[in-house]
């Protein structure tokens, strides 16, 4: 084997290492988290799905992620369309602003959102957290949808207008359909940005825990294999969804290039 192949294999192993450890641990029947497990079973999956506190946190996270993704996708897509219609100087500035949440450290954003929420008395609110997550997901929507939008011939919308369609109709018939797969992909990415997010949620949520906050709090007091079961479950869910999103994204780009 060549040196480069060995390095590549090592790199992949390093990336997959946590998963390789966590998956077997989740099927342990031991009382404490340990590797390798001494006995096997589905005890901890039962513990997760049977515990109302874990379930409440999971559904809270799913709900927040759903709305955050919806807000980020709509705002990001409309933002991209808007950016295409303004002067280049404004475009550069606003693009920077849209991308900023991906560059600024999450702790700083969390602190900023927390201080802002305090002054409005809106801490400990699912709504505040949803919007904060939408802001965090916005850069990804802007980047994914933006890449597809730039491939769309700008004459398409003009053609629709000349054919008799009003501006909204022209957008819906000419511009949106070709980029729709990318928009769906962006929505999936945005969903998981929110679903995985811990730091902002820690700052904002006192009583009602999201799933990552619940995991965090659980880890602080005892280490039991429920976390391994949850992780394994969501590794598979996330992998499937992300693979779908990536597939959609690639297909849009390829299809738009062909035309």
């Amino acid at each position: 084997m060549r040196l480069s192949s060995i390095l590549f294999a090592l790199g992949v192993l390093l990336l997959f290492f946590p998963i390789l450890i966590v998956v077997p641990m989740s099927f342990s029947a031991d009382r404490f988290l340990g590797f390798p497990p001494r006995s096997w079973g589905l005890t901890w999956y039962r513990a997760y799905f049977g515990d109302p506190v874990w379930m409440a946190a999971t559904f809270r996270s799913l709900r927040i992620a759903l709305f955050a993704s919806l807000i980020a996708t709509i705002a990001g897509t409309l933002g991209i369309v808007g950016l295409g219609r303004i002067g280049p100087r404004w475009r550069a500035g606003l693009t920077g602003l849209f991308i900023a949440p991906a560059i600024v450290p999450n702790v700083i954003i969390a602190l900023g959102v927390f201080i802002l929420a305090l002054s409005f008395g809106a801490t400990d609110s699912i709504v505040t957290l949803t919007f904060a997550h939408a802001a965090l997901a916005l850069p990804f929507v802007v980047m994914i949808v933006g890449a597809a939008y730039r491939q769309v011939d700008s004459n398409l919308e003009r053609a629709a207008r000349v054919c008799g369609a009003g501006p909204v109709r022209a957008f819906l018939t000419a511009t949106l359909p070709p980029i729709l797969p990318a928009v769906v992909a962006a929505a999936i990415f945005a969903f998981f940005i929110s679903f995985d997010e811990l730091v902002v949620a820690l700052f904002l949520m006192g009583g009602a825990e999201t799933l990552p906050v619940r995991i965090w709090n659980d880890l602080r007091f005892e280490i039991n294999p429920t976390i391994a079961a949850i992780s394994t479950f969501f590794v598979f869910v996330t992998t499937a969804a992300m693979a779908l999103a990536e597939l959609l994204r690639m297909r849009t780009i390829r299809k738009l290039r062909d035309i």
Partner: protein
């Protein structure tokens, strides 16, 4: 499709971007049913003029009229024009049929009439049997035919074409050139055609409007534009020509130029012709003609294109030759 068309008119239309103007006080009247080409190099303002006519760009000053009505305040969807774009601009997710039917659906044409009208339009552009295909599965020529069908299907009185042949290769371009002429003759629609290709402009149009740097240089029939260019720019841009410095007889202080087309020069000029004597600098045999350059005494070089004839041998490189043309073939230009 019923023949109907409308006149259109630009009146002192100016478009400024910041301090630069893309179009400067542009006025042009196009008669109903006329085929007029806006010809110019890139940045000449021809596309700006078309975009203002279509409603994509707002004029800074002046007004555009279609069928006698001012349309400056109307959005593109209410101007009732058809348009063919440079890169086709077909909706990629719609079939050929749906693409062509789109303008009819937007105009709320009853469903039962749509099928017949789409069929008629596709027939007009000689494209049938591909109605279920997506644009991605068509060749460039077929895509442009679909784009043409979509532009004419709702029988708009005015048809706009923006560099619509330049994305095609030479053979297809010539084929579609004839096709567009034929469609224009059949439908009688007013056509405004934008191109940077002078051979397209000369071969297709009733009249050609030459633009440069945002200004209209000359509007005339193709042959008049070629024979009587109004300025140095037009003489140089349309076809090939020799521009020689000259002096105006009326005012010798004023700068002037003489334009002589290479194919107007002939060997063994008569006594009434203007004579040019020089040394043959280069010479190329092109079958029907022999082309080359003559270095004149004043240092200028003169391009010639002589018909090949057995009776009059063409001078060899390095030889002295006398070429000439009737004074009427020389166009005097003062700008």
């Amino acid at each position: 499709m019923p023949t109907h068309n409308a006149p259109l008119s630009f009146q002192a239309v100016t478009k400024r971007y910041g301090s630069t103007s893309a179009l400067e006080s542009f006025s042009l009247d196009v008669a109903a049913g006329e085929f007029v080409t806006l010809l110019g190099p890139s940045g000449s303002g021809k596309t700006t003029a078309l975009n203002i006519l279509a409603g994509f760009t707002e004029a800074s000053e002046g007004e555009v009229y279609i069928g006698g009505r001012p349309v400056g305040a109307l959005p593109p969807e209410r101007r009732n024009v058809g348009m063919v774009f440079q890169n086709f601009a077909l909706f990629p997710h719609m079939s050929v049929f749906d693409n062509v039917a789109f303008p009819l659906r937007m105009r709320k044409v009853p469903r039962r009439e749509i099928g017949a009208k789409v069929g008629k339009a596709l027939e007009t552009v000689h494209l049938t049997g591909l109605t279920d295909r997506k644009p991605g599965a068509l060749s460039g020529g077929q895509r442009q035919r679909v784009a043409l069908a979509r532009a004419i299907v709702a029988s708009p009185p005015v048809l706009l074409m923006d560099e619509c042949l330049s994305a095609l290769d030479l053979k297809l371009r010539e084929e579609l050139r004839d096709e567009i002429r034929r469609i224009h003759a059949t439908l009688g629609t007013t056509v405004v055609f934008v191109t940077h290709d002078q051979s397209e402009a000369l071969s297709m149009s009733d009249r050609v409007a030459v633009l440069n740097e945002g200004r209209l240089c000359q509007v005339d029939r193709p042959d008049s534009i070629y024979d009587r260019p109004a300025s140095r720019f037009v003489a140089d841009f349309i076809g090939r020509t020799n521009i020689l410095p000259a002096k105006a007889v009326t005012d010798s202080a004023k700068e002037a130029w003489a334009s002589i087309r290479p194919e107007r020069l002939r060997p063994e000029p008569g006594p009434d012709d203007i004579h040019f004597e020089g040394v043959v600098e280069e010479r190329a045999f092109l079958g029907a003609t022999i082309e080359g350059r003559l270095r004149l005494g004043g240092g200028q070089s003169l391009r010639f294109a002589l018909p090949r004839s057995a009776s009059v041998p063409c001078p060899e490189v390095g030889q002295t030759a006398v070429l000439g043309c009737p004074p009427g073939d020389i166009v005097m230009l003062d700008e």
